[in-house]
């Protein structure tokens, strides 16, 4: 949690001043009963009405000063809590930007989004309430006791006994009920999950005639949640009546004791009223304190979760961009005709996975070549290409670009060298031009149009109102799947990368467009990796890598693989069944 303190330190002044002014205000609150007692005891007839008006004026003045202090306190508290939450949110966002794929996989974007929004907001609320009330309530409670001691020591002993008992009861009930609140929340989550399941699965549930069972399952969770809620209610409903009884018993004892003191002449009637008023002040603050503890408890849990994310260190470090040696090495390497991309003995395991996803992969891809990657689902195709821009670090072996290990290339350079088109076509809210500039802010419109043409997307953009200024909605909702795919391909091309990676990114295109796209890309001077399930997409590649359960089952051209690689043949015949018959006939003949 101490990693959050850095952001609070900026608001050190406010964090001290807010509670301080709150306490000053509380001090005036505490003085009020004392003034009233003086009013009662200094008999109006004896002292004259003038004194009464002086006391009255004092009360009014105290109210005004109290208001002023309180406004100052609220101001500092709002400034500190919002400012702190703001810098924490920014820091968290920046921190997430530094995460590598491994951390993103492990934490999941849903978690990160919740931390950034709901959790930080809850921390803000907690800090704000805490600054305002955390010191004030105990101060009033103990302040009331201190004031009681200044009035009469014997009577004040009642306070000294009552307050610890009240605090003990309050904390005991909180201690029992707070964990129960957590269980209620998870019960509610379960009900929500089942509701969602019933809606998303409505076709399957109806097709399998499972409506009754689905309702019964929901009912079980629903009933459990209700039972839990009623139980928690039973516990937390104890707090108010119990503290009420205790404080009034204390007040009754106080009256009994005060009676003796008054009889002895040690105490005056007005002072008894003051003591009684202090007793009443305690209960009001105690109830506030209980509510505050619940809020703070929630906020602390959120703060811990936020802090947990800030504690996650990015697992990947990049070479600094200006290492001269590396640069020289690179030009030398180029001169030597090193392959554009080389994998040697690469083994890779996803963090937390039991078995490697890629095992001992080796191949060389030369400048300008087209490399096809094919294999069944889960065979490691996407994993293989995601190692080229160093989305993940290998366990063993090396991945090198132009003869340089990717681990020795700076982040910016890696980013410029490679253009990656992911499986899921994602576009951002903003104009088409903004989207195209994602990889390079300086791109000109001419470059964008060129890339769009290669990606077979020129026509799409030309037909849109405003063309490049056409506003894409969040998630690209106002574009079809095929349109989005072509635009994401163009987006990667705009960067003019030397290595282009298409990770099964033309699945929504019809066969003719897909073919035209491959033809246009082939004309560019780039090394291209095409990941696909479709044999037709990779058949013409200069080199085809066949993956099977993470191992390289074969590499070579289509013809070579057809004669040597059984896995490739299987895939081929599963897509071109009549060829198998033809070949079978041939071999028969």
């Amino acid at each position: 949690m101490h990693n959050l303190a850095i952001y609070l330190r900026k608001f050190r002044k406010e964090c001290v001043l807010a509670p301080l002014f709150k306490l000053l205000e509380a001090l005036f609150d505490l003085l009020v009963p004392l003034v009233v007692a003086k009013m009662i005891d200094s008999n109006a007839v004896v002292m004259g009405k003038k004194y009464m008006f002086i006391y009255f004026g004092t009360l009014i003045a105290m109210a005004i000063i109290g208001l002023a202090f309180s406004i100052v306190a609220q101001f500092f508290s709002a400034k500190a809590s919002c400012g702190f939450a703001g810098s924490l949110r920014q820091a968290l966002f920046d921190h997430i930007q530094g995460f590598s794929f491994a951390e993103l996989d492990r934490l999941g974007s849903d978690t990160l989004i919740t931390r950034l929004s709901d959790d930080v907001n809850q921390v803000q609320t907690g800090l704000n309430m805490g600054l305002r009330l955390l010191l004030r309530s105990p101060f009033i409670v103990f302040g009331a006791m201190v004031m009681a001691f200044t009035i009469d020591t014997t009577c004040a002993l009642v306070f000294a006994v009552a307050i610890p008992v009240l605090l003990a009861v309050t904390f005991l009930i909180m201690k029992v009920s707070i964990p129960l609140f957590g269980r209620v929340q998870s019960g509610l989550d379960r009900v929500t999950a089942l509701t969602r399941e019933n809606l998303t699965g409505v076709r399957v549930i109806r097709a399998f005639c499972q409506e009754k069972e689905a309702v019964e399952e929901f009912e079980r969770s629903n009933k459990a949640l209700t039972r839990l809620n009623v139980f928690v209610g039973k516990v937390s409903a104890l707090l108010n009546p119990l503290t009420y009884v205790l404080i009034n018993i204390a007040a009754a004892v106080l009256i009994d004791k005060a009676a003796v003191r008054v009889e002895l002449g040690a105490l005056q009637q007005g002072e008894v009223v003051a003591l009684y008023n202090y007793m009443l002040q305690i209960i009001v603050e105690l109830i506030k304190l209980a509510a505050l503890i619940i809020t703070l408890n929630k906020s602390l849990a959120c703060a811990k979760r936020v802090s947990g994310i800030l504690d996650v260190k990015p697992s990947m470090e990049y070479a600094s961009p200006f290492i001269e040696d590396a640069k020289e090495g690179k030009s030398q390497a180029n001169g030597n005709g090193s392959p554009a991309v080389e994998f040697s003995n690469v083994t890779f395991t996803y963090p937390g996975a039991g078995a490697p996803s890629l095992l001992d992969i080796g191949f060389k891809a030369y400048e300008g070549q087209t490399i096809g990657v094919i294999g069944g689902t889960g065979s490691g195709k996407s994993t293989l290409v995601s190692l080229i821009p160093r989305f993940y670090d290998v366990d063993n072996g090396t991945v090198s670009l132009n003869g340089i290990d990717v681990r020795n290339i700076s982040k910016a350079e890696l980013c410029n060298e490679t253009g990656f088109v992911p499986q899921k076509a994602v576009l951002f809210k903003g104009s088409i031009r903004d989207n195209m500039k994602l990889g390079n802010e300086q791109t000109t419109d001419a470059d964008i149009w060129e890339a769009l043409e290669t990606a077979q997307a020129k026509e799409i953009v030309e037909k849109k109102p405003g063309m490049l200024d056409f506003e894409v909605e969040q998630g690209g909702k106002n574009l079809s799947g095929g349109q989005k795919q072509r635009l994401t391909i163009a987006r990667a091309l705009v960067k003019k990368p030397r290595i282009l990676i298409l990770d099964d990114s033309s699945s929504a295109l019809d066969f003719a467009t897909d073919a035209a796209l491959r033809k246009a890309i082939h004309a560019l001077p780039v090394t291209t990796f095409i990941v696909s399930q479709r044999i037709a997409c990779v058949m013409q590649a200069d080199l085809i890598l066949v993956l099977d359960n993470g191992t390289l089952a074969g590499k070579g051209t289509h013809e070579e693989l057809m004669s040597s690689c059984p896995v490739y043949q299987d895939i081929y015949y599963s897509q071109f069944p009549e060829e198998r018959n033809a070949n079978a006939k041939e071999s028969m003949a």
């Binding site: 009360l59 809590s81 919002c82 019933n198 409903a237 009546p241 009884v245 002895l264 990889g439």
Partner: protein, 584 residues
């Protein structure tokens, strides 16, 4: 503006009316709660008077009546205990009522989900309906709870306080009654200021959440394009705006409490002054003054409570009306009486037309006849109505015109269950329960033995990967635990276990690699020998051996025939089929 408001009020009123049968069932508890609340309030307000009377018995040195005081404190303790017990039981009863009502409404809602037409569910976002059933009911329960607990007691408190105050002293009481509305004016003034700021805050927060969703939700794309720094600086801009706005909003709104407290302090001071001036003339005793001071402090609280309860209740009723608008959605047409015995599998689609939207024709005059045991494939470009035919066959939607019959009986004459039981269905959308693999496979046949489950898993080629899961059949499935292809295999196993008389496959193997797909295909062919099946496919290689291929475009059947017939015809199918072999 005014119009909107009255409409809102009307819907709130009608929500309350619709809620009343749910509440009415608890009338005994409700009556008990009101009685307990009354007792609690009267006692709680009476206790300060007893304290005041006791204080009056200690006038000064040597003039204290100990007996009187002891009897007062004894009564106080007894009354306080009774009041506390009343409070506790009132809370228990209210809890039970509020949570009971919500539980009932939720059950009703989930039963309703099973019965509303799919057209409703398809045209409304899942998130919206989920939030109606969960979040809205939650707000409703909070509102009801608060309403029951604080509304009655608040009103009773005001009345009883006024009564007790006036019985002590009329002048001072009038003073309190006249001055307290001041704090309302102050509070109203502040809240109208802060309302606009909060509105602005939630607008900025909405924008920020959208940005976070977009960037963090697609963090990998951001990384791949080196967009991190620019994303950070864009975030900074929105974030600074938000901090600015929240600071103001929170500051302004937090002025409410100190300001109303200030007004209260003024009232308190006035009461003290006037009261003290009345004491010497015998208009008021010191004990009486202490009572009035206590009341002056407390008098505001029920007003604040009531106004917050009213807001909360309005909120709750708004949620209730959203909930009821879902609950009142018309259910599917009533069930027909007939139940199928055994199904042979002759399916007849006759002159069927159907459209999702009235002004957009989709399927017009569709005729298909399937003999028992036929394998019917439906192909065509996206949006041509392939999936719609499946919606109609399963009666997820009813046809507008024409009839669909099985073995000569129109499907509208038989119960939905009996119709749906005669089909096994695998959709492209792989829905699985958040439950164990075992429960998912035996979803359609809950009493299936492990042997049957394993057999089905083997037939659908998923037994191998199930064995590799951490807990085998007992592994609980989560959304990202297994791949899309593996999910499809489980959906296929689920159907294999049921041995349905007819089969519907809608792009059922789209995420499975082509080699496994062929094996699955063979398994289906064995399973469905002599049974009718309908197959929607994107990959044409998988349907070459179909007995009848329907080529659809724009809701019509363009061509039909076997694979070889269609190829030799050289039409749309031939073009579609050969385009997949096109080379660069």
């Amino acid at each position: 503006m005014k119009n909107v408001k009255t409409k809102q009020e009307a819907s709130t009123a009608s929500a309350l009316r619709k809620l009343s049968p749910f509440i009415g069932r608890y009338w005994v508890g409700l009556a008990a709660s009101i009685v307990l609340a009354g007792a609690m309030v009267v006692l709680q307000l009476y206790v300060p008077i007893l304290f005041g009377d006791a204080i009056d018995l200690m006038v000064g040195e040597g003039r204290v009546s100990f007996d009187g005081i002891a009897s007062y404190t004894g009564r106080i303790i007894m009354l306080v205990c009774i009041s506390a017990i009343c409070t506790y039981f009132m809370n228990l009863i209210n809890n039970r009522i509020a949570f009971g009502i919500v539980r009932e409404i939720r059950s009703k809602a989930i039963e309703h989900v099973q019965r509303v037409p799919l057209s409703y569910l398809d045209s409304h976002s899942t998130g919206d309906i989920v939030s109606r059933i969960t979040t809205d009911t939650d707000v409703l329960s909070d509102g009801l709870l608060l309403g029951f607990t604080q509304l009655f007691s608040g009103i009773i408190t005001v009345i009883v306080t006024l009564f007790f105050m006036f019985s002590k002293n009329v002048t001072v009481s009038l003073l309190v009654v006249v001055l307290t509305p001041l704090s309302f004016v102050v509070a109203r003034f502040i809240s109208s200021r802060s309302f606009n700021l909060f509105k602005k805050q939630s607008e900025i927060r909405g924008r920020q959440t959208g940005f976070i969703d977009e960037i963090v939700g697609n963090q990998k794309v951001v990384k791949a394009f080196g967009y991190e720094d620019r994303a950070s600086s864009r975030f900074r801009k929105i974030n600074d705006e938000l901090v600015d706005c929240s600071q103001q909003a929170i500051f302004y709104s937090s002025l409410t409490n100190p300001s109303t407290r200030f007004v209260n302090s003024l009232v308190y001071a006035c009461v003290a002054l006037v009261g003290i001036l009345l004491v010497p003339g015998g208009g008021l005793t010191v004990g009486g003054l202490s009572v009035l001071l206590a009341y002056a402090n407390q008098y505001m609280k029920p007003f604040n409570d009531i106004s917050s309860v009213v807001t909360e209740m309005q909120n709750a009723l708004a949620c209730a009306s959203r909930l009821f608008s879902f609950l009142e959605e018309k259910e599917e047409s009533p069930e027909a009486p007939l139940v199928f015995g055994s199904v042979k599998g002759a399916v007849d689609i006759k002159d069927v037309s159907f459209r999702y939207e009235k002004d957009r024709p989709l399927i017009e005059g569709l005729n298909v006849h399937a003999e028992p045991g036929m394998k019917i494939a439906i192909v065509g470009p996206t949006g041509c109505g392939k999936t719609t035919i499946i919606n109609l066959l399963m009666r997820f939607y009813d046809v507008d015109n024409g009839t669909i019959s099985i073995d000569g009986t129109p499907i509208t004459d038989i119960t939905r269950h009996s119709l749906r039981r005669s089909y096994g269905m695998v959709l492209q959308d792989t829905w699985l329960k958040g439950d164990t693999v075992r429960e998912n496979i035996r979803f359609g046949k809950p009493d299936a033995s492990d042997e049957e489950i394993i057999e089905a898993a083997k037939a659908s080629h998923c037994w191998e990967f199930i064995q590799r899961l951490p807990n085998g059949l007992d592994t609980i499935l989560s959304d990202d635990g297994i791949s899309q292809g593996q999910k499809q295999l489980l959906c296929i196993a689920r159907v294999m276990l049921c041995h349905p008389p007819m089969l519907i496959l809608d792009e059922a193997t789209s995420s499975i690699d082509t080699r496994t797909e062929i094996l699955i295909q063979q398994a289906f062919d064995t399973l469905m020998k002599g049974r009718t099946s309908f197959i929607v496919a994107h990959r044409l290689s998988t349907i070459r051996n179909a007995s009848l291929i329907l080529v659809m475009k724009d809701g019509h059947i363009m061509e039909q025939g076997t694979h070889d017939e269609l190829l030799s015809r050289g039409g749309f199918y031939e073009k579609l089929y050969n385009s997949q072999f096109q080379q660069v």
